[in-house]
């Protein structure tokens, strides 16, 4: 089990690096705003992931029992911001206004929540996960709807986001609960999450190959 876990972990890291580099390269080359935001999202996720790995090993050195869950807030908030911007570029004017409104609402709710209870910072913040992930799922469905009459852009990315985000949202919302469960059992869930994450990154790579590879040359 540990071996599979390790392989998936490394695989997702390699895929993330590849995707980040490829999308960053394409965004400089093509100057498409949507791709630029998506590249920033990938790079930030990459940094969050590497810093979480570094922090874990750092704590291990010092023999401090501490979790790296505070990084999850960066992950969710940046994911929300940049994927929203990504979808905003693909939407119609009216839909763009809705994205803007959602931005304001989410920022307001999270601001109020953290001012009230700063200790939320050290575990999964369930409300945060819900209100930063749910709009993205909705956006991806809206994008699917938009693409009904014509050929949609970045349909692979969209499908990947829709599937992975809905599932990971469920997992992370139950994250605090899962963490209380015996580790030998809970590892199944995290393993499933990793499998899906590798799938997610692979589909993003396919998207790059399909819609950005050719225009690159």
């Amino acid at each position: 089990m540990n071996l599979i876990d390790d392989v998936l972990h490394k695989l997702s890291l390699i895929l993330l690096i590849t995707n980040s580099v490829l999308f960053t390269y394409s965004s400089f080359k093509l100057k498409i705003k949507a791709i630029k935001y998506f590249a920033i999202y990938l790079v930030i996720v990459f940094f969050v992931l590497t810093s979480s790995i570094l922090i874990i090993s750092f704590y291990k050195e010092l023999h401090i029992k501490q979790n790296n869950l505070f990084l999850s807030h960066f992950y969710f908030i940046f994911q929300f911001v940049f994927l929203s911007l990504f979808y905003r570029e693909l939407f119609t004017t009216k839909q763009k206004n809705w994205v803007n409104l959602t931005f304001i609402l989410v920022a307001f709710v999270l601001g109020v929540q953290y001012i009230n209870n700063i200790s939320l910072f050290y575990k999964f913040n369930l409300l945060e996960i819900l209100i930063t992930s749910f709009p993205l799922v909705i956006y991806s469905i809206i994008h699917l709807y938009n693409s009904l009459g014509k050929t949609g852009k970045y349909m692979y990315i969209n499908a990947a986001i829709l599937i992975y985000l809905s599932v990971s949202t469920l997992i992370f919302i139950l994250g605090n609960l899962i963490n209380t469960v015996d580790k030998s059992l809970s590892i199944n869930v995290w393993l499933l999450n990793k499998v899906l994450y590798v799938g997610y990154l692979t589909v993003i790579l396919i998207e790059w190959k399909k819609s950005l590879w050719k225009t690159k040359n």
């Binding site: 693409s147 599932v167 469920l170 199944n188 499933l192």
Partner: protein, 264 residues
């Protein structure tokens, strides 16, 4: 422990369920899109077909109207003018008229004759009577002779009579070749033509080649002139297809291959 196991189990199945639901959603949208695109394509095809039908109808009407005018010219004008000419001739034989009157009558006779000649020519252009009487082969040969006599065009031809073709369809073939020749002369500045027409069991084939300045096939396809549209519609009526080959300064080649309709 037992409780925890249940929680994890529920969660794992929940996750799988969610994956399936979202995948289903994506597939639903994907196939809906395909369906919509298919409908759009069908609509576009129907539009083209309608336009084609309108064109074909207008061609049929055009031919009918030409025939009517030719007939009217013959019946109403030519026959009356013949009477005028005959009466004038009768008057001319009268000994009692003086020189002045005779000159006038001669002038009338002359004008009547030229008018008769031009009305005959107009009617002939509108509806080649020779096609009705002697068939396509003779009509085309006459057309070629006409062109050769009036222009510097040299025409090489080998025409088989399309006996299985109905009169109306023979007229379409005649018009197609007439139009192609006009195009070669007017736009292509050609001075040599080679026209072959042969029939087989199921249909016939026309091969038309000139040595004119040629044209860009792609551009012409995109922006067809009325002449070419007419040719195309007539080829469609004949249940055939038109192939064009041409390059600048290299002449052009038209191949028309038609299958007989079932009812013919």
């Amino acid at each position: 422990m037992e409780n925890e196991k249940l929680i994890i189990q529920a969660l794992v199945y929940g996750i799988i369920f969610l994956v399936l639901i979202t995948t289903g959603l994506i597939l639903f949208f994907h196939y809906s899109r395909q369906k919509i695109v298919q409908k759009e394509l069908e609509k576009a095809a129907m539009k083209i077909e309608n336009q084609q039908k309108i064109l074909q109808t207008s061609i049929a009407i055009q031919e009918a109207e030409r025939k009517r005018i030719a007939q009217d010219l013959h019946d109403a004008i030519s026959s009356k003018l013949n009477i005028v000419s005959l009466s004038t001739n009768v008057l001319l034989t009268d000994k009692s008229i003086n020189e002045k009157q005779k000159a006038s009558l001669n002038q009338i006779l002359e004008i009547t004759t030229t008018t008769l000649e031009s009305s005959r020519k107009i009617a002939h252009d509108l509806m080649p009577p020779i096609l009705d009487e002697f068939g396509l082969k003779v009509a085309l040969e006459e057309l070629f002779d006409d062109f050769s006599a009036n222009t510097t065009l040299e025409i090489e031809h080998n025409i088989e009579n399309l006996s299985k073709l109905s009169r109306t369809n023979q007229l379409h073939v005649f018009r197609i070749i007439q139009e192609l020749m006009n195009n070669s002369l007017r736009h292509g500045k050609a001075n040599e033509l080679a026209i072959y027409m042969e029939q087989n069991q199921t249909g016939f084939k026309i091969r038309y080649q000139d040595n004119g300045i040629g044209f860009n096939v792609k551009e012409v396809y995109k922006k067809k002139g009325i002449g070419l549209q007419n040719i195309n519609s007539r080829v469609k009526i004949l249940n055939g297809n038109l192939k064009m080959e041409s390059t600048k300064n290299n002449g052009s080649l038209f191949i028309i291959q038609c299958k007989y309709h079932e009812q013919n």
